[in-house]
Amino acid sequence: KESVMDDLSEENTFSVDEVSQIIKEGVETCIGTSQFQQNKVNQWTSSIIEHCLNQLTKLGKPFKYVANCVIMQKNGAGLHTASSCYWDNQTDGSCTIKWENKTMHVIVTVFGLAI
């Protein structure tokens, strides 16, 4: 019984708020106010993901993380993505952040799976 209870302690559950904060920081630091540039998009996605993963591992929680980043130029096209997981609802979680500026949409998703 103790083990079950401990499973639900703060350290072992996915904290959506914390993670979303990390992601937002990440996007803002890496893109900031830049306009969409094809040659820089590579750089941006990698830096966002690296930043997120670094910060997440720093949290030190016993989690596996999967980070996904989509940057789409605002050209009038439509986009729709969806995801679902088969996991333990109490310990695992995911967080999706949609960020946009005048020229592009950025969608970052982080999945956290308890080890």
């Binding site: 019984k1 103790e2 083990s3 079950v4 401990d6 499973d7 350290e11 072992n12 030190g60 929680k61 016993p62 789409m72 050209n75 009038g76 096209a77 439509g78 986009l79 729709h80 993505t81 969806a82 995801s83 679902s84 997981c85 088969y86 996991w87 333990d88 609802n89 109490q90 695992d92 995911s94 999706t96 949609k98 005048k102 949409h105 969608i107 998703t109 080890i115």
Partner: protein, 552 residues
């Protein structure tokens, strides 16, 4: 599932020493780990809509219809080229080129203008906040009003101004002289309520107000309602709706303030509404105290001039109060009308035109009284007896003209008659006996000195033209229910009649009936003289007339 569980626990065990902070507790037999499918997380970016225009429609209309547009050189070969002429002709048809350019520009501009940047979607709280903000409410109110008017209009586009049957003014039968134009009725506010007061706006001739009684079938609705109706537009809903807690018994537009409406209520309160605020309840109310009125207020009117005016209200216990429109917390003056030391049970009141001092009061004890507000003998001056029933309405002569007829007064009573009095000799000039039920209200026309209208409880409206015929009404109109109030508009061409079912019917009068002729005033003087003589002769012949006051 059990397989999965065991796998995981093995993995945990295996990974234990490697990960720095894996809790050792976990290794010791993982409990039931329930795996479920999580909710689908969706992300959408909405596509931008582009509007396409088809060029073909624009080029189709460029068929040359008029000769001016054809550029036919063959015609002018014989004449030789005249530079000025050619230039003139060129200038006459510049349109071909311009149209093409416009088409292209429109096309190019269209997609850009069609879809501005996609607006940010608002959350529910933001939406609520905006909907409740004052500027939005004000904007919405004004725009809804305008849209309602636009939607209700149905203009006749086939109207032919050259031909068409013109209404011949001469040779019309009396029946066509009064035509029912509209009926104002609001399902929520007028249902089951009796119209207790009517007034036309002195500032906007198309606005009229109707005050309503309580609706017994709907006790939770406010007891007193005043609706302002607009005759100009075809929309069916009132321009403004005001209400208060007590049935409204009299109302009028404040003469020198275009936004204020004054009402007197059954409880004795005098209330003031302002149509600048979105509030439907009164902005000012008089107190319910013995210094003001404690009985139903039967008449309110604004007297005086632009710079020095007062509100005068009269209640059915014979009390006359003078108020300042800025401060309804207490009356400036009160005057108790008494006859033989008993208060006058007043039913109606009217002031002489352009005279804020003298007035005429009709009462339930079958007589009419004249009085004045100021002076040494303020109060009731003379009594006019003659009616055999309670007096329901009095009207002093309204039209202004070369002859001063301010001494002519009409009174209507429940004894089925209308009497014409002259205040100079305090006697009856004529008795109109054509009605066959209680006469509820009277109104003089403001433009035609010989025209007045009497409304009775059968819904009949009799228009009397004194110069045409004094024994018979010149025109007649019929309402479906008992008419409680009737009022001419300031132009004299419209008459509003409010009945006891809450309907306000507006009648349009033919010009021949409504407008005075050149000699109307002179004729009227003669008519009145004749009537007076006739009455005197009748009285002398009868020798003992019942209850008539001093005639000569």
């Amino acid at each position: 599932n059990p397989h999965l569980k065991s796998e995981q626990s093995e993995f945990a065990a295996a990974g234990g020493p490697e990960s720095p902070r894996s809790s050792p507790k976990r290794e010791a037999g993982v409990g039931a780990k329930k795996l479920t499918v999580s909710q689908v997380t969706q992300t959408t970016v909405v596509a931008k809509e582009t509007v396409n225009y088809c060029k073909e429609t624009q080029t189709m209309n460029l068929e040359p219809e008029r000769d001016v547009l054809t550029y036919d050189e063959s015609e002018r070969e014989g004449e030789g080229v005249n530079a000025a002429e050619a230039l003139a002709e060129l200038q006459r048809m510049p349109h071909v080129q311009e149209l093409v350019a416009a088409g292209a520009a429109a096309d190019g501009a269209a997609p850009v203008a069609a879809e501005p940047e996609k607006p940010r979607e608002l959350s529910d709280e933001e939406r609520q906040q905006i909907l409740l903000s004052e500027s939005f409410v004000r904007f919405f109110d004004k725009t809804a009003r305008v849209m309602e008017r636009a939607l209700a209009e149905d203009v006749d586009i086939f109207i032919d101004y050259s031909g068409g049957s013109g209404d011949t003014e001469l040779g019309e039968t009396a029946k066509q002289q009064v035509k029912q134009q509209r009926v104002f009725y609001d399902d929520r506010w007028s249902r089951n309520r009796c119209v207790t007061a009517l007034d036309w706006s002195p500032h906007f001739p198309e606005l009229c107000l109707a005050a309503y009684n309580a609706n017994e079938d709907a006790p939770q609705e406010p007891d007193g309602v005043v609706c302002v109706w607009n005759v100009k537009f075809r929309k069916d809903s009132p321009e403004f709706v005001f209400h208060c807690q007590s049935p409204v018994t009299s109302a009028c537009f404040a003469k020198f303030h275009r936004n204020l409406i004054v009402g007197g209520t059954y409880s004795g309160q005098v209330v003031l509404w302002d149509n600048r605020t979105p509030r439907r309840t009164p902005v000012q109310r008089s107190p319910l105290s013995s210094t003001a009125h404690t009985q139903p207020v039967l008449s309110v009117c604004v007297l005086g001039s632009e710079n020095a005016h007062n509100l005068v209200s009269a209640s059915s216990d014979g009390r006359l109060c003078t108020w300042s429109l800025d401060m309804l917390s207490q009356p400036q003056e009160t005057l108790d009308l008494q006859r033989q030391n008993r208060p006058v049970p007043a039913t109606c009141l009217d002031f002489a035109p352009s005279d804020a001092n003298h007035f005429v009061v009709g009462s339930e004890d079958y007589s009419m009284y004249t009085g004045c507000r100021h002076g040494a003998k303020a109060g009731i001056m003379d009594a006019l007896d003659g009616h055999q029933g309670p007096v329901s309405a009095v009207a002093t002569h309204r039209a202004t003209g070369p002859v001063d007829l301010g001494h002519i007064v009409l009174s209507a009573s429940f004894d089925w008659t209308v009497r014409l009095w002259s205040l100079r000799d305090l006697g009856t000039v004529h008795v109109f006996e054509e009605t066959s039920d209680y006469v509820m209200d009277l109104c003089w026309s403001p433009v035609n000195p010989a025209l007045f209208c009497a409304a009775d409880a059968l819904g009949r409206l009799d228009f009397w033209q004194l110069n045409l015929d004094t024994e018979q009404a010149a025109a007649r109109a019929q309402c479906d229910a008992a008419v409680n109030r009737c009022r001419f508009s300031d132009s004299g061409l419209l008459l509003g009649a409010g009945d006891h079912l809450g309907r306000l019917t507006v009648f349009e009068l033919a010009d021949s009936l409504a407008s005075p002729r050149q000699e109307e005033w002179k004729l009227l003087g003669r008519t009145l003289h004749e009537l007076k003589q006739a009455t005197a002769e009748l009285a002398a012949a009868e020798q003992d007339p019942p209850g008539v006051g001093p005639i000569r």
